[in-house]
């Protein structure tokens, strides 16, 4: 069943969109990532103009992350205090990111920087997680018990200590603020929620438990993508309501299934899965940069002069 999208000005199959929304929502529910790093390239691939894809996908992530946050709040696996510190950093970061983006635009190399950002960060995060998870699994097998992660590192020597009850942590507010800021900056440049960077940062840098990371990450992503949606709607008018509704119907259902399946999987397996997924997207985007394209030309709208 094809549907004509009023803002994107293309006609696409509604069931493909439902499936995409459902699949990405499912991952979002399991891993606590928004799924933007998957959804944006996929939407562009099926023919949605990039500007519309980025803006509309942000709107869809608001829905699936809120749906996931609600499920996690009932399970008491959202650290609101940590989420707010991350969010404060995130808002500062996105303001910086928007400025960098505007600067890149004047040099005309936005596409390249965005693609390289994807490849570098997905590659880095994916391989770190994969190595760490495999090591942890081996260790757990050998010793026959759960791995205790390092609880003390340089992070604990910093001032402005705060007590995060839900996470059972007493650490400085500076690292979470910086993590939020870095994620916010990258999110604004790459047009994603940034969960795929924040989740590993929370686990490995802040030492939070995987169970709490998912809900807390979704909590922060919800606000960041909400702000992104509003910004795009006001400045570019590129949020397609029809596309968003179809995606988010699939998305919220997928998320709910994800949050139910997630806790039944083992934490280390979960991280290996996410790591493999992140690496797969990284390899795909990397190949696109290196392999000789079949079409050398791309068409875009007028740049306005």
């Amino acid at each position: 069943m094809n549907i004509y999208l009023p803002i994107a000005e293309v006609s696409v199959n509604a069931f493909i969109l439902l499936g995409l929304g459902g699949g990405v929502g499912f991952l979002s529910g399991i891993f606590g990532v928004g799924g933007g790093f998957l959804m944006t390239p996929l939407l562009i691939f099926i023919g949605i103009p990039p500007a519309v894809a980025v803006a509309t996908e942000a709107n869809q992530i608001v829905a699936s992350s809120f749906s996931g946050v609600l499920a996690n709040i009932r399970r008491k696996t959202v650290d609101m205090k940590m989420g707010l510190v991350l969010l404060a950093g995130g808002l500062v970061g996105s303001a910086i990111g928007v400025q960098i983006f505007a600067g890149l635009r004047t040099t005309g190399q936005v596409d390249l920087v965005v693609a390289l950002c994807y490849v570098v960060f997905l590659g880095l995060v994916g391989s770190l997680m994969l190595v760490e998870s495999i090591n942890a699994m081996r260790k757990a097998k050998k010793e026959g018990r759960r791995v205790q992660r390092r609880r003390h590192n340089w992070v604990h020597g910093l001032p402005f200590k705060m007590r995060f009850r839900t996470s059972n942590l007493y650490i400085s507010a500076i690292p979470p603020f910086l993590v939020g800021m870095l994620v916010g900056t990258l999110a604004a440049i790459m047009g994603v929620g940034g969960g795929f960077i924040m989740v590993p940062a929370m686990i490995y840098l802040l030492g939070m438990a995987a169970v709490i990371v998912v809900g807390t990450s979704l909590f922060q992503i919800m606000f960041v993508t909400g702000a992104t949606t509003l910004m795009h709607a006001i400045t570019n008018q590129t949020v397609d309501a029809v596309l968003a509704v179809i995606l988010l119907v699939g998305g919220v259902v997928g998320t709910q299934i994800g949050v139910r399946v997630g806790p039944r999987l083992k934490a280390e397996q979960l991280r290996i899965l996410l790591a493999l997924l992140v690496l797969a997207v990284c390899v795909k985007l990397g190949l696109d940069l290196v392999v000789t394209p079949s079409e050398f030309f791309t068409l875009g709208g007028s740049s306005g002069h």
Binding site: N2, I3, Y4, L5, P6, I7, E9, V10, S11, G47, N59, Q60, V62, A63, S64, S65, F66, S67, G68, L70, A71, R74, G108, Q109, D111, L112, T229, L230, M231, A233, I234, T235, Q237, V239, A241, V242, A244, V245, L248, V249, V252, T255, Q256, R260, D288, L289, V290, V291, T292, P293, E295, F296, F297, T298, L299, G300, G301, S302, S303, H305
Partner: protein
């Protein structure tokens, strides 16, 4: 039946005394308004008309070309270049004018039925409707960029040349069907009909189709542009409501 009557009316219009000494073509379209609703999946435009020529002509002396041109816009074309081992977009070349849609239907091979000069004057062939007036100095092969627009849009089903698809009946009537794809943009689509003999254009006729968004799509589009802030906030509220609904639904029916 209504089409048949319409064709007869058109044919009668040509027999008026004032036009006796000229070659004439008149035409009409199956629709003059096209609504882009959310269930729009493309449509067929039926173009039909009548011809009257002075004197007796052999059966294959007359040709007809039907050209449908969508709203014209500037297009930025970028060529990928290899630098440091990776393919990156080069500088953009601004094409001055390229129609968002262009379909040409003819009674025979375009090159045989219209002369170069006539083609150039009326801008019929595809490479004549894409205009690149002033390419930047660094462009080595400007034709490459223009050809890219034609090639990419042809693959998207937006540009087409359908030779031999105009049916000519008794040197007096003609008809053709032109497929309008689902990815149409809003605007006025111009229909040009050319009557030709020996490569020369004898007469032309113009009509237009107004393509507009309609229904909920129209409403969404105008809301997004007229009240962007409200539209953005409503989008977020809809997303939150959907998230909550799904959460509540699953909690009720699949408690864990």
């Amino acid at each position: 039946m209504t089409r048949l009557i319409a064709i007869l009316v058109l044919a009668l219009a040509l027999v008026g005394p004032a036009t006796l000494a000229e070659d004439r073509v008149v035409a009409s379209l199956s629709q003059h308004n096209l609504a882009l609703t959310t269930d729009f999946t493309g449509t067929e435009l039926f173009v039909y008309g009548a011809i009257r020529t002075v004197g007796d002509l052999p059966a294959d002396a007359i040709d007809v070309i039907v050209a449908i041109t969508g709203p014209t816009e500037r297009v930025n074309v970028r060529k990928k270049e290899r630098q440091f081992g990776i393919w990156i977009n080069g500088k953009g070349v601004e094409i001055d004018a390229a129609p968002s849609f262009y379909a040409v239907a003819t009674t025979g091979p375009l090159r045989d039925i219209v002369s170069w000069t006539e083609d150039f004057r009326h801008r019929i062939a595809l490479d004549l409707v894409i205009r690149l007036i002033d390419a930047p100095a660094w462009v080595e092969d400007r034709e490459e960029y223009r050809a890219a627009v034609a090639r990419i849009r042809e693959e998207q089903g937006l540009y087409s040349l359908q030779e031999g698809t105009v049916a000519l009946i008794d040197n007096a009537l003609f008809e053709t069907r032109i497929q309008l794809p689902a990815n149409l943009v809003e605007g006025d689509y111009k229909a040009r009909i050319f009557l030709l003999k020996d490569g020369t254009v004898l007469d032309t006729y113009e009509d237009r189709v107004e393509v507009r968004r309609a229904g909920i799509g129209r409403w969404i589009y105008s809301s997004a542009h007229e009240w962007p802030a409200v539209y953005g906030i409503v989008s977020i509220l809809v997303a939150l409501a959907a998230g909550w609904l799904a959460s509540a639904f699953f909690r009720t029916f699949f408690p864990n």
